[in-house]
Symmetry: C2
Subunit: 162 residues, 2 copies
Amino acid sequence: MDHVDFITDQWAQERPDLDVSAMAIIGRVARLYLAYQEGMQVTFGRFGLNAAKFDVLATLRRSGAPYRLSPGALLSATMVASGTMTNRIARLEADGLVLRQINPGDSRSFLIELSPEGLALIDQVVEEHVATQERLLAAMSQDERSTFKTLLSRALVAAEQA
Amino acid sequence: MDHVDFITDQWAQERPDLDVSAMAIIGRVARLYLAYQEGMQVTFGRFGLNAAKFDVLATLRRSGAPYRLSPGALLSATMVASGTMTNRIARLEADGLVLRQINPGDSRSFLIELSPEGLALIDQVVEEHVATQERLLAAMSQDERSTFKTLLSRALVAAEQA
DNA sequence: TGATTTTATCTTGACGTCAAGATAAAAGAT
DNA sequence: ATCTTTTATCTTGACGTCAAGATAAAATCA
């Protein structure tokens, strides 16, 4: 009897005409997402980052040397509005974690590159990050994780079809 | 090969020392959460609501007649900061969907009650809401849903233990 | 080439959220 | 009965986000 059960039970009581079986799943996905975010934010915070900044630094890092992408490329990798990316880049620039460079091929654009400090930082943070993620799943067996991953992929396809 | 695979593959390339198997799960939970939110927001928007307003109205509705709770009770039901709840109530009050009443037992507090309009609205929205949720899961079989729900519960316990 | 459309990024204004602190009443202690 | 602590809510200021529009360069077209 977790919190999601409590909510669906209340609905069953008040609106017995409604089928809340889908809510039992979607509600748990939401709770789980929040629990993961909470755990991961602690790691980010220890390095003066938040999820938004980590996201940009990590995208640059995993793009490979020279760790350099245009705002537009960052935009399509991270699913945020364009103004949001402008803002994120500005803050990372102010922190000295990325450098804005001229894009020789297109003067409407720029190239955003990890600074040496940014590269050193993200390389360190990502190690703790994957350790945090592992800890959040630690109580699940390999079998459970494997089945869970398969069903998450199925659920993603289902949601995108809808 | 979905977007999460793309990300974990990039990490495997750039940082082969890291174990990104947990990321493959947590990343999919995040994607799924966003996909569900997106789908559900459409329903809310059709009624002039957003997830925040729906949350409060739904909490009042499922609490049962007389659909009346204190800000503090709403607070503990919805996991937001107290100032956030103040703000949500103020907006719903401005929309005429809830009424603020004196709490006879405690003059530090109030009682927030669904207005007749608020009650009629939430009763209508929640019907579409559960239909939307059902649609988001429509492509999954009953067996898949059942296993998925079990694993989500397991994952929630695991994350809370961490 | 010159005009038009498209593309890439930034700016603006509004919104929702949070943390920290303020306010006021209730509960508890002496 | 008064003082202190706790509880309940609101206020303030900062942050991150978004949608819509502005700006400027590149690409396309005539």
